[in-house]
Amino acid sequence: MATTTLPSAPAPIADERVGRRNPFQKLLGRPEVGALVGAVVLFVFFSSVSSTFLQPNAFATVLYGSSTIGIMAVGVSLLMIGGEFDLSAGVAVITSALTASLFSWYFSMNVWVGVGLALVVSLGIGFLNGWILIKTKLPSFIVTLATFLMLSGLNLALTRAIGGAVSSPSIAVMDGFSAAKAVFASDFTVAGMDIKVPILYWVVLVLVASWILLRTRVGNWIFAAGGDANAARAVGVPVTRTKIGLFMGVGFCGWLLGMHNLFAFDAVQSGEGVGNEFLYIIAAVIGGCLLTGGYGSAVGGAIGAFIFGMANKGIVYAQWNPDWFKFFLGLMLLLATIVNLIVKRRADKG
């Protein structure tokens, strides 16, 4: 009879290793806190150097500028938390707008048919991106770079082939245009501010995305797919479906912004959108999403977009030379990434 004695289990006492985390420390652990500090600093700065910055309509313009980045940043942030990124997001917006306008114009249909088709195309591009990524196991950089090039080529070629010019023909006189304009590109006044409707869509998207991320199973899967796809697979998370879904989410955001771009005017320039994909990624990264995935928040992406909007318009209101804007943006990106790096190291080591 073998009898071995092992050390007894320690009594479950309160842990002496760490003091209670105070609310301030808890706040510092949030992914978007670096961006929040940056946003506050920038806000105070521009308010003090420019007298017009805080005027209602000027501020509404800042918000509008932020929303056109922010709508896409929601989808891109979630995708980045899921461990991938999408270089085709910028031109996919234009592809969506072109699809709607060219289709309606060519077949002389109600614009809502074009709008519906554009949604299908946008979701389809997202699906294709995700599906190729999963099937080939290529990095998303390559897959979406290829999509980016193909889409920008298609945008130019098809627009010229169908409409005969580099911009799509005007659809202002077509059936359903005014209704679509009311939905996608109207504005209303709140407290003396002329609010454009994309701002509203932006806020709703951020709320929905935050809810999905923090309170649903899918949110848990997104974090896991980005944090460690193999571990996630091992415990039964449908990583494939999650990632494809995230690309389709970016597609949806692209459709929404594309429709706004189309109906804010009545035509789209086929060469637009190139380079915007970086703005969305920058917004997400400034907002605390890790490039490697598994960490971040939708609110962070929104704050990143707001920082972008403030810097972009604030420079104009401060009457500086806007040539400096890109330098400013690059500096902010670098600082934000360093903050993120510190956060990740802390999370890894404890």
Binding site: T4, T5, S8, D15, W211, R215, N220, F223, A347
Partner: protein, 317 residues
């Protein structure tokens, strides 16, 4: 097999937990037929990849509330063995039965459905995610219907805290990223997760390999805790000092073959170590050290080990 005895739980005096053979005999027979069956039983199991024989003629059993240790060096066939049990590979020879029924598991999912859960070295945890999210990952509790279906966060946190407390681990905060836990604690979360989701057989693949002495002790205690909750545990290790205190049965593998299968009462730690190490190899090491010179301490140790191994294997044979 030993005769059936009352499953008298050996309540240890304060400060220590004793493993006695009485404790080990729980669940020795099938509750329905009263026939002696094992939770898992492998008989003459073999596996080859092409013309490479990875495993041959392995016989072992796993029972409720018992720990079966699989010992062996790198390349001994431990991984192949657990892959067969966990459903990643299928055996080519012999029989593999679960609760007396002949089975051939075709996927890890099938193994899980049969109550066999494997905790691998990488633990399948996502280090940036909070502990409670990791605990329920892939099997989240939800509440509400339709588009409002959401995770029952409060309940998930509560269950995580409770389950981990029952395994003897008191957490600072289930919200902290799992990457901040120590290796032993992470192992514990993975074990507790397998237990909570209905595992009857727990396969632990080298849980102590990357841990320090103290952390290893912590993990060994969790193994006993899992055993005391009625699980059959398969503990894979290359360290007889870890295996012996917690194990009830010991399967020794070497180059794909079983070189011994012992009940705890039939073997001592020294014999186990000797069988594992192989006296000849230790003697050779002592010889090499002697030639190199300057390693007097290590040399003494190797010589002593070799001597112990020689006597050990002698008495074991």
């Amino acid at each position: 097999m030993e005769p059936q005895t009352a499953a008298a739980k050996d309540t240890a005096p304060e400060g220590g937990r004793h493993i006695s053979n009485e404790t080990l005999l729980q669940g020795e027979t099938d509750p329905l037929t009263d026939r002696a069956v094992h939770l898992l039983k492998l008989e003459g199991v073999g596996k080859h990849y092409g013309n490479v024989i990875a495993l041959r003629d392995v016989t072992m059993a796993v029972d409720n509330g018992r720990v079966t240790c699989v010992l062996g060096d790198n390349g001994a066939g431990k991984s192949t063995l657990i892959k067969i049990i966990a459903g990643l590979h299928q055996h080519d020879e012999g029989t593999f039965s679960i609760m007396g029924e002949d089975r051939r598991l075709s996927s890890p999912r099938e193994a899980l459905d049969a109550g066999i859960a494997a905790v691998y070295q990488d633990l399948a945890v996502v280090s940036l995610m909070p502990i409670w999210r990791n605990f329920f990952l892939g099997s989240e509790l939800t509440t509400g219907v339709g588009p409002l279906r959401r995770m029952d966060v409060a309940k998930m946190k509560e269950v995580t805290k409770k389950e981990l407390a029952e395994m003897g681990i008191d957490l600072r905060d289930v919200e902290q990223p799992i990457g901040q836990l120590s290796g032993g604690e992470r192992q514990c979360v993975a074990i507790a997760r397998a237990v909570y989701f209905g595992a009857k057989v727990l396969i632990l693949d080298e849980p102590t390999a990357a841990l320090g002495v103290k952390q290893s002790g912590v993990v060994l205690r969790y193994i006993l805790q899992a055993r005391d909750r009625g699980l059959g545990v398969i503990f894979i290790t290359h360290n007889p000092h870890h295996a012996f205190p917690v194990g009830d049965r010991f399967l020794l593998l070497k180059r794909g073959r079983s070189i011994g299968y012992y009940d705890k009462k039939d073997i001592t730690l020294e014999e186990l170590t000797a069988q594992m190490a192989g006296g000849a190899e230790l003697a050779e090491l002592a010889h090499e050290l002697e030639q190199l010179g300057g390693h007097s301490e290590a040399l003494e140790e190797a010589k002593a080990e070799a001597a112990a191994a020689a006597t050990g294997s002698h008495s074991a044979n």
